[in-house]
Symmetry: C2
DNA sequence: TCCTTCTATTGACATAGATCAAGGTATCAT
DNA sequence: ATGATACCTTGATCTATGTCAATAGAAGGA
C-alpha cells in the first residue's frame, strides 16, 4: 500500500464505496470528510483501543487489518472478528460509549477516526448517511449471526473452509485476488476465532493441502479448487450467507 | 398477562423503559406511539416473519416470547436467540430490507409493529430517539458477541449455567422473580441455541438438579443456589457480560 | 378415558477434537 | 552469522460430547 494512504480523504478514497460514503452525493461525501480525522499509522500488535475504554469514535480501516477480541477475568481471550479495509470498528461501543472488546493491529495499518457526536449530527442532516449507518449496523448484526451459526453447528473442517471462503470473498471485494492471499493473523488467532485449538487448525490446513484443495506456505494461501472448498461448506449454508466475518 | 395488552399504547406501556421510548420526553413518546401499529396476538408456533421475507418493520415484544433461527439448505436450524418483552426484533433486516432469520412464537404473544420508514423519519426529528436506536443496536451487537464467546469457548455445563443466569437476569429486569420461572422453549431449542444436543442439555439439567443447584420440573426452573451457578460461569466471564441472549 | 404424538430422560457406545509432548522452521535483535 | 524467541506442525493419547436406542412422561384430540 502507498505510504500516503493516511492522507487521502473520503472523496478520493478508493474504499469509499465499501465504507460510510456509499450512496452519498458528492457534496455529502465532502461534508463527511470534514469530520474525519486521519490518524498516524498503527503498528503490529499495537492496540487501537482497549476493552472498557470510553470510546467516542468509530474507526474505519483504511489499510492493513485488525483483530478484535474479548478477554475474561482469567486473561483468556475470544477473538470476535477480523477487520479489513473499508470496515467499521467500534460499533459495539454505541451501547454505553464504552468498548466491550479490544482491537489490535495485525500489521502496520491506518484508520480514519469518526467522532460519534459529529457523525450523529451529520446523520440528522443527511438522510442517506443515516440510512447507510443503519445498513452497516444491520450488516454487522447479520455477520455476527453467521459467526454464531459457524461456532454452533460446524465441524473443524467446515469451519476452516468457511473461514477461507469468507476471506476470499472479502479480498476479492477489495479488488485483490480471491484465490491467493496472505493471512495477516497467526494460527492461534484463527483457532481462537473458530473455537478450535491451534493444533486442529494446523491439521486442517495440512489436510486441505494434501487433498490439493489449497496450497499453504506459512501465511500464504492459494486456493486451487474453490468448488471443493464450497462443497465442504455447502451442505450447511446457503451461498449468500458466506458474506461474513468482520 | 392481561388479555388487553395489545391495546395499550407506548405512553401507558409498563415496558416503555426497556423499549424504544426510554429516555424520551412525554410528548416524544406520544409521537412515537402514533406510528406504532398494534397487531393481533400471535399463537404458539406461528411465525412473525420468515427468513428472506422483505421486512419493512421492526417489532417490539409486548407479551410472550419468541425464538429466532436461521435455516440452511438442508432444513437444519441454528437458533440465534430468544426474545422477551421489551426487546426489539427485526434489526438484522436493516441491512437489505430482507430478514435473514425466521421468528416464531414460543407461546401466545403480542407485538408492536414499527414501520421503518416512519421510524427513520422520526429519528431525524427526535435526536434522543436516534440515540436510543443506536443504543439498542449497540446492545444487540454486544449481546451477539456474548453469544459468540459462549459458543466458542464454553463447556456444556458452563453453557447451561450461563443460559440460566441470563434468563434469570432478564426476567428480573422485567419485574419477575429471578429465581423461579418457566422456560417457554423446548429442550431442543435450548440445545440448538447452545450448540449442544438435547441429550446433553437433559443430562446437564439432571446434574444441576442432583447437585441441588436448581430444581427442574419440566419447563419449571427454580434456582436454589445462584452463587454456585455463577461459580460455574465465573472463571470464564466478567459479571457484566451476562447481559445477553436476545 | 384412551390413543397418538410430541417431548424429555437415561444408558451404552463411538468419535471429533482437546490435551500433552516433542521437534521443526521462521523471524528478529545483537 | 548466531542465538533466542515466537510460531507452526506432527504424533500419541484422553475425554467431553455426540450418536443410537429404548423408555417414560405430558399434552391434546376423538
Amino acid at each position: 500500500m502507498e505510504s500516503n494512504v493516511h492522507k487521502i480523504s473520503c472523496p478520493d478514497c478508493r474504499l469509499s464505496d465499501l465504507c460510510l460514503p456509499y450512496g452519498l452525493q458528492k457534496n455529502e461525501v465532502q461534508q463527511l470528510a470534514t469530520i474525519v480525522k486521519n490518524k498516524r499509522p498503527i503498528h503490529t500488535d499495537e492496540y487501537l483501543y482497549l476493552q472498557g475504554d470510553t470510546c467516542q469514535n468509530l474507526y474505519a480501516v483504511k489499510s492493513g487489518s485488525f483483530r478484535s477480541f474479548i478477554a475474561d477475568d482469567n486473561g483468556s481471550e475470544q477473538t470476535i472478528g477480523f477487520y479489513l479495509p473499508g470496515e467499521l470498528m467500534g460499533l459495539d461501543a454505541l451501547q454505553h460509549g464504552r468498548s466491550t472488546c479490544s482491537i489490535v493491529a495485525l500489521e502496520t495499518s491506518t484508520v480514519c477516526e469518526l467522532p460519534l457526536s459529529h457523525l450523529n449530527e451529520l446523520c440528522s442532516q443527511i438522510p442517506s448517511l443515516q440510512h447507510q449507518m443503519m445498513r452497516i449496523l444491520g450488516k454487522e448484526i447479520s455477520s455476527d449471526h453467521d459467526k454464531i451459526i459457524m461456532l454452533g453447528h460446524r465441524s473443524a473442517k467446515e469451519k476452516m473452509a468457511t473461514f477461507l471462503l469468507m476471506l476470499s470473498r472479502r479480498y476479492s471485494g477489495l479488488g485483490f485476488s480471491s484465490t491467493e492471499f496472505n493471512l495477516s493473523m497467526r494460527r492461534q488467532d484463527i483457532a481462537n476465532f473458530l473455537g478450535l485449538t491451534v493444533e486442529t487448525v494446523s491439521r486442517q490446513f495440512t489436510e486441505l493441502n494434501k487433498d490439493g484443495i489449497i496450497t499453504v506456505k506459512q501465511r500464504g494461501i492459494q486456493i486451487n479448487d474453490i468448488t471443493s472448498l464450497k462443497a465442504i461448506v455447502k451442505p450447511c449454508m446457503p451461498d449468500d450467507q458466506l458474506s461474513f466475518i468482520a
